[in-house]
């Protein structure tokens, strides 16, 4: 017995693979139907967006160790800027850009922190958005990946393990560095070393010709979890000078355009113990402080 079926011609199927489509991050060729870059795992929708709009976004990287608060900061920032009363207006480019905001806010609303960002680059969230400053008519396109702290640490120790990180740092026009103020306040120095490694790696990636000139990229050094370390809010720069002397000196020597900020999202945290599970740190309420200011500073420098 014969049945009729519709079979696409092989030539049509092959055509999808035959048309090369470069990834916006690493520039390697992918197929038109690919959702993630097969080389660096960046979402191909960024490349599609760029081709449609004709505007290449500025890449802003967020550096910091695992647990420093990168995801919470970014998710809260995106949520705050997408509300009406914000100094900058933010519009997401594509549905994938909202995942970070959605995941973070859902978790915080349940009085939990979002789960740890996996090291695998194909699991990261990316924020591709248009930012409009009411004081400036020109909107600015930004691409902010939420990279995993562990992956950054591995890349800093063993370069080229994560090509996407190398590519992003190389293209980065603005940098936000997250440092856990709570840990720094109690004398911990592991984060300081990691951030110093990352900043050194960042300057290493600049081409030789550019390396002769001082690095003028805006770098916002954000002391996170400052809500539990109140003196950090009073004077973030002084706090960094006292508690993170190595990082302070590195920034003084190599970065011409850096500024210290303090931020906090939770008003208070505690440990929650649930029967049959590990104890987890939970926020008892959501009171964002110092979230928008570093970003506004960074965007205004990028606009110059």
């Amino acid at each position: 017995m014969r049945t009729r079926t519709a079979m696409p011609l092989d030539s049509v199927r092959l055509a999808q693979f035959a048309v090369p489509f470069p990834c916006h991050i690493c520039g390697s060729e992918n197929t038109l139907a690919a959702t993630l870059c097969q080389h660096c795992s960046a979402p191909m929708s960024i490349a599609h967006q760029v081709r449609e709009t004709g505007i290449a976004p500025h890449v802003v990287t967020v550096l910091g160790s695992s647990g420093a608060g990168k995801t919470v900061y970014l998710g809260t920032l995106l949520d705050m800027l997408s509300r009406e009363r914000a100094p900058l207006q933010l519009t997401s480019r594509g549905a994938y850009s909202l995942s970070l905001q959605q995941n973070t806010m859902s978790a915080l609303a349940r009085c939990e922190f979002p789960s740890k960002t996996p090291s695998e680059a194909d699991c990261w969230n990316w924020a591709h958005c248009q930012v409009r400053d009411p004081a400036d008519r020109r909107p600015i396109e930004l691409l902010v990946p939420d990279m995993a702290g562990e992956a950054m640490q591995t890349e800093a120790d063993h370069p080229l393990t994560f090509p996407v990180i190398r590519q992003l740092l190389g293209r980065s026009e603005g940098v936000m560095v997250m440092i856990d103020a709570l840990e720094a306040g109690t004398g911990g120095s592991s984060q300081e070393f990691l951030v110093m490694k990352m900043l050194s790696y960042l300057s290493q990636l600049r081409t030789d010709r550019r390396r002769k000139k001082p690095d003028t990229r805006p770098v916002a050094l954000i002391l996170t979890k400052a809500d539990q370390c109140e003196d950090c809010f009073e004077d973030p720069s002084g706090f960094a000078r006292r508690r993170l002397p190595g990082l302070w000196k590195l920034c003084q020597q190599h970065l011409q355009n850096c500024h210290y900020f303090a931020s906090g999202v939770a008003g208070c945290c505690a440990w929650q113990v649930e029967f049959g599970r590990q104890r987890v740190r939970v926020p008892l309420r959501l009171e964002p402080r110092g979230i928008v200011e570093p970003f506004v500073w960074l965007v205004r420098h990028l606009q110059k």
Binding site: A109, G267, C268, A270, Q272, V273, F275, R285, E287
Partner: protein
């Protein structure tokens, strides 16, 4: 008002003693005279010794009031009968005790004066003034049950289903209409509240010295030179720990509300069908309105005066229970959590209610939501208001002495009737 038996006995003894002395004087009977004189002395001593512990020991707040030594200073207040209610002419020079009472009234310590031990010291004018202050500053929260909701982590935030909870009975109380302001707290600081150790819990005595302002003077964290910013006099006091809030409350003769009392005042539960409690999500209704509460979405970004946003008052006229500043209560954080999910912190956290000007999520600024913080935390968005149980005030005594109908007293009487009917 009738005299108490002990007072009657005193007067009888005194009368007998005087009669005996008078009889001995007219008929030179030495034993009768000596007996009368001895009786006179005994009566006097007994009367003096009876009064001292009554006024001091019964109430530590009253003891710390500075209003004490009631045994020596007490002046018999008009008790009953129209003749005794004559208004004292203003030309009469005020005694030291009356000046002290006036000072306490100026300091907002009116509830201390309405304690059973002290109410008798007030003259009619002071009593009227005290009751007026009470009525203006505090609102009655009637007796009844309140459902203390358990946090429902699996629920979608903002859901309208009643959360599971525990029924708690609340006795009638008076709750401050407004949060304690900087101006109010300044009186406590100026009166040396940080040096009066009986006001402070003994476990915090070593820590009181750490409760200093920016210039190392005793006071809230953000003050300078022991004084608040002149523009923020009517803003809620912030930067005070739970212990400072409790000490202030004790100084004014009040206390911090319990968790259940606070929730009852805000959510105003009504028993539907006599069983199910209908509680409000916000004091004004079921949805957040930025014009009624100072939260993050209101956009103020800082505290506002305690009298602002009156549209957000509770049913009985308590202002800003939601928003502006979190409020300390006496409860512990996590006390309503299910046993399977407990909270660990270096020290037990105290309960906070109501949300603040920077509370970002709507469902965290509701009557139900409980947050917490260390009792030593002195944060920029945590303040407090005070409460007092109705049973701690001699309102009926005051009413009879005053001879006037006051709304607060009517409310209290109504509550008593309801209680007796129940």
């Amino acid at each position: 008002m009738s005299h108490r038996p002990s007072t009657r006995l005193t007067w009888m003894l005194l009368a007998c003693a005087l009669l005996a002395v008078a009889a001995a004087w007219t008929t030179p009977d030495v034993p009768l005279g000596a007996g009368g004189a001895a009786l006179l002395v005994v009566t006097f001593v007994w009367r003096v010794r009876r009064r001292a512990p009554q006024a001091v020991a019964a109430d530590p707040a009253a003891a710390s009031a500075g209003a004490t030594p009631p045994a020596r200073q007490r002046v018999d207040a008009p008790r009953s009968g129209s003749a005794s209610r004559v208004r004292r002419p203003s030309s009469v020079p005020r005694t030291e005790q009356q000046a002290l009472i006036d000072q306490m009234l100026q300091q907002g310590r009116y509830t201390l004066l309405l304690r059973r031990q002290l109410v008798g010291n007030l003259d009619r004018e002071q009593l009227e003034h005290t009751l007026e202050l009470l009525h203006e500053a505090m609102a009655v929260v009637p007796e009844g049950n309140v459902r203390m909701a358990q946090p429902d982590w699996d629920a979608v935030p903002g859901h309208q289903e009643p959360a599971p909870g525990r029924l708690v009975h609340v006795a009638p109380l008076l709750l401050d209409r407004y949060a304690v302001t900087n101006a109010d707290y300044q009186k406590f600081v100026d009166a040396g509240g940080y040096q009066e150790m009986p006001l402070w819990a003994p476990e915090i005595w070593p820590g009181v010295l750490q409760f200093v302002d920016r210039t190392r003077h005793p006071g809230p964290r953000d003050w300078t030179q022991g004084a608040h910013h002149p523009d923020l006099a009517d803003h809620p006091v912030v930067g005070v720990s739970w212990y400072e809030a409790a000490a202030y409350a004790r100084w004014v003769g009040k206390r911090l509300p319990t968790d259940a009392e606070w929730v009852k005042a805000a959510s105003w539960p009504v028993a539907v069908g006599g069983v199910e409690l209908e509680q409000r999500r916000y004091p004004w209704g079921e949805s957040l309105d930025e014009r009624k509460a100072n939260v993050w979405s209101t956009g103020a970004g800082r505290t506002v005066p305690v009298t602002a946003l009156p549209a957000g008052s509770s049913v009985n006229g308590i202002v800003q229970l939601i928003g502006n500043v979190w409020e300390w209560t006496t409860g512990d954080y996590g006390m309503w959590h299910p046993p399977s999910r407990s909270i660990q912190a270096p020290q037990p956290l105290k309960s906070l209610r109501g949300g603040a000007f920077d509370t970002y999520l709507e469902h965290q600024a509701t009557c139900d939501f409980q947050s917490g913080d260390s009792p030593l935390a002195r944060k920029h968005n945590i303040g407090f208001r005070c409460a007092i149980s109705l049973c701690d005030l001699a309102l009926w005594t005051a009413e009879e002495a005053c001879g006037e109908q006051l709304v607060a007293l009517d409310d209290a009487r109504q509550l008593e009737r309801e209680e007796s009917l129940a």
